[in-house]
């Protein structure tokens, strides 16, 4: 019989008969025998990623359910109800914050779990079914992670929605119908929010719960990749079962699921939950931006777990971008589903599978690299209210100082930096690779060569203004070169 407080209570003589009754009527012995008290192969410390995902999912369900009690999905009330939850209800900020950070961490863990299975060959026979449900869950959770912040109905949320709609619009043949389907009508409005709410709060969690249940059932039946499987080639499903069985029963390579495995994976889950709670206290309950509108000037960003996608959208060449938005998720879905049938080699684990290692390393580097590029967003031109600062140690003659003011008035600083200060869309004018003569620069500004993304200033600048601008650029340039 098991150890622990429940077992201890059950052994007290008065409770003994009651415990027998419960165990029989609720058929607990069967769960005990087939799930908890069974020998399994030992996994590495990071095999707790699945348990972490499960724990975060439960946290999301509980915190989400608590918020639905106060949330209003009417488009003119939604934002105020989120404010009320965050600032008006006792511990509302904590519940919303934990929901927000658990969602972000769940996406991180989801990628980790996916990459881990690719590295180990966790989809190989007989685990194709567990993998297939995992792929569905991957897409399901990614969609939920977008829908969730649309419900805040702030600027960030509504523009995330419109980005999704624009992607749907690019689907061939049925693009417009898909947009109308998601919007629930010819424009973004109350119907849209109701539908997003229904999917995020009812349909999504129901589907995810069923998928997780079956995923876990298959994980219990087919288990995890055992140490021996990772060491030597295993061809067939029956061979795998024999190898696994030996590992599970051996003293060194096997353990009992409860409490050994549960404690180990539970520890990892607990660490991530603590991280989520810590982030909630340190960084607050998830920011709230101005209420959803399509009228005010806005500088929206996606939530951080989508940054890599945004950077990809910015860096792809325009001809590819239009195919990418629809093609990439579709291709990813198909490739992931087919992966067990593409990679049919007998090796599991990292040692004999260099392609998997290279592929996953490349993906991780790409995700991190793209996300950091998005933070800088060097491709974004934006109006700057003030002229660029005078480079350090430089005194501008009055003509050049006038030029510095004009530099802001004519929006040169929306794209160009001076000595590292300002956006990086156009070249830094203090640091031009090929220097232009005074006359060349004048004509460049008036009519930039074809193919250069710069507006012509032909009809806008007086001769005097043009001279002052060129003076300014010339002065910062020459000073820089000396």
């Amino acid at each position: 019989m098991a150890s622990g407080p429940i077992a201890w209570l059950a052994r007290r003589s008065r409770l003994k008969s009651a415990w027998h009754w419960v165990r029989d009527r609720f058929q607990l012995r069967e769960i005990w025998q087939h799930v908890l008290d069974r020998r399994v192969a030992k996994g590495s410390w990071y095999f707790g990623d699945g348990a972490t995902l499960f724990l975060l999912f439960i946290v999301l369900v509980v915190t989400g359910a608590a918020m639905t009690l106060s949330y209003s999905s009417a488009s003119d009330e939604a934002y105020d109800s989120v404010r009320q939850i965050t600032y008006g209800q006792p511990l509302g900020w904590f519940v919303r914050g934990l929901h927000y950070w658990s969602a972000g961490l769940m996406v991180v863990m989801l990628f980790f779990h996916l990459f881990r299975q690719i590295l180990l060959g966790g989809y190989k026979s007989p685990r194709e079914g567990s993998w297939l449900f995992g792929v569905f869950l991957f897409f399901g959770v990614m969609i939920m992670s977008l829908l969730g912040y649309i419900l805040r109905w702030d600027e960030r949320g509504i523009y995330a929605l419109r980005v999704a709609l624009n992607i749907f619009y690019r689907v061939p043949w049925i693009g417009e119908e898909l947009v109308l389907l998601v919007q629930g009508g010819p424009e973004i409005g109350s119907e849209t929010l109701s539908r997003i709410y229904a999917v995020h709060v009812i349909i999504g969690p129901l589907l995810l719960t069923s998928l997780i249940a079956y995923h876990l059932y298959l994980v219990v039946r087919h288990s995890i990749t055992s140490p021996t499987e990772r060491e030597r080639p295993v061809e067939t499903a029956s061979e795998q079962r024999a190898v696994y069985e030996r590992d599970a029963l051996s003293k060194e390579r096997g353990e009992i699921f409860y409490p050994d495995t549960v404690a180990k994976s539970g520890l990892m889950g607990a660490i991530f939950l603590a991280l989520g709670i810590g982030l909630t206290f340190a960084l607050g309950g998830g920011r709230l931006y101005p209420e959803a509108n399509l009228a005010e000037p806005s500088y929206p960003m996606e939530e951080w777990w989508w940054s890599w996608f945004s950077a990809l959208a910015a860096l792809l060449p325009p001809w590819l971008a239009s195919y990418f938005y629809v093609g990439f998720p579709l291709l990813l879905f198909v490739v992931l589903i087919l992966l067990p049938f593409i990679d049919r080699g007998p090796h599991r684990g990292m040692r004999n599978r260099p392609i998997a290692v290279v592929l996953v390393s490349a993906c991780v580097i790409a995700l991190l690299g793209l996300s950091s590029l998005r933070i800088r967003s060097a491709w974004t031109a934006w109006p700057q209210p003030t002229p660029p600062p005078v480079p350090e140690g430089m005194v501008l003659p009055p003509e050049a100082e006038q030029g510095r003011q004009l530099f802001a008035r004519y929006g040169c600083n929306s794209c160009h930096a001076i000595d590292g200060h300002g956006p990086g869309v156009g070249p830094d004018l203090a640091d031009l690779r090929e220097t232009l003569s005074y006359a060349e620069m004048r004509s460049y500004i008036l009519q930039p060569p074809p193919g250069v993304a710069m507006p012509p200033y032909e009809d806008r600048l007086s001769e005097e203004e043009l001279d002052r601008l060129v003076d300014f650029v010339m002065v910062v340039q020459t000073a820089r070169q000396q």
Binding site: S75, Y159, E176, E187, S298, A313, W379, P383, Y410, G411
Partner: protein
């Protein structure tokens, strides 16, 4: 055939029938908005045409629909009166963006009065993924905050991932007011 086989087939067919009887109506009603396209033009006011100086680009909030809340069967005069009243309100509401469109979400557009006669009305939705472009009065460009889209004053693409120029609304001037047709651009724009 054996009794068990026949009964098995019946059970499976029966289950399929139940699934279809419940599932198909649910699916049809869930999918129905996909065919809810606008029938005919939907004109909305942007305010008096004098607000838009020749040669300039100005932002304008889309006004609420003039006749949307008018019940069937009311007289034309009543409807016209309500239309005038809403039109009058639209100017006051320009100041407070929220609720100005009468729809769920206030929305603004950019109006470029090219000449006294010709007006171009741009959507603020970037043609890449729908982020809100901002008019830069300095450089005379429309700048997208998300993925580096830049458009010229005439809406043509200058840089970034967009693969087409800014969306233009069909427009007309009625009784001195500039109006745009919402059905002339894609539904998410």
């Amino acid at each position: 055939m054996e009794r068990r086989t026949v009964l098995g087939i019946l059970v499976q067919l029966g289950s399929a029938a139940v699934a279809l009887v419940v599932g198909i109506p649910a699916l049809i009603t869930a999918l129905s908005p996909a065919s809810a396209r606008r029938r005919g033009p939907a004109w909305r006011s942007l305010g008096p045409i004098e607000q838009f100086p020749v040669g300039e680009v100005r932002s304008a909030v889309i006004g609420r629909p003039a006749a949307e809340h008018t019940a069937e069967g009311r007289s034309g005069a009543e409807r016209a009166a309500e239309g005038r009243a809403t039109a009058g309100r639209a100017t006051a509401e320009r100041a407070t963006a929220k609720g100005a469109s009468g729809a769920a979400v206030a929305q603004s557009v950019y109006v470029w009065r090219r000449s006294a006669e010709e007006v171009v009305v741009f959507s603020r939705s970037c043609t890449d993924l729908g982020c809100p472009v901002t008019w830069d009065p300095g450089s005379h460009c429309f700048l997208c905050p998300c993925h580096g889209g830049i458009f010229a004053k005439d809406g043509e693409r200058m840089a970034g991932p967009p693969d087409r120029p800014l969306y233009r609304y069909a427009n007309r001037v009625r009784d001195g007011r500039l109006e745009i047709d919402l059905s002339s651009v894609p539904p998410m724009v």
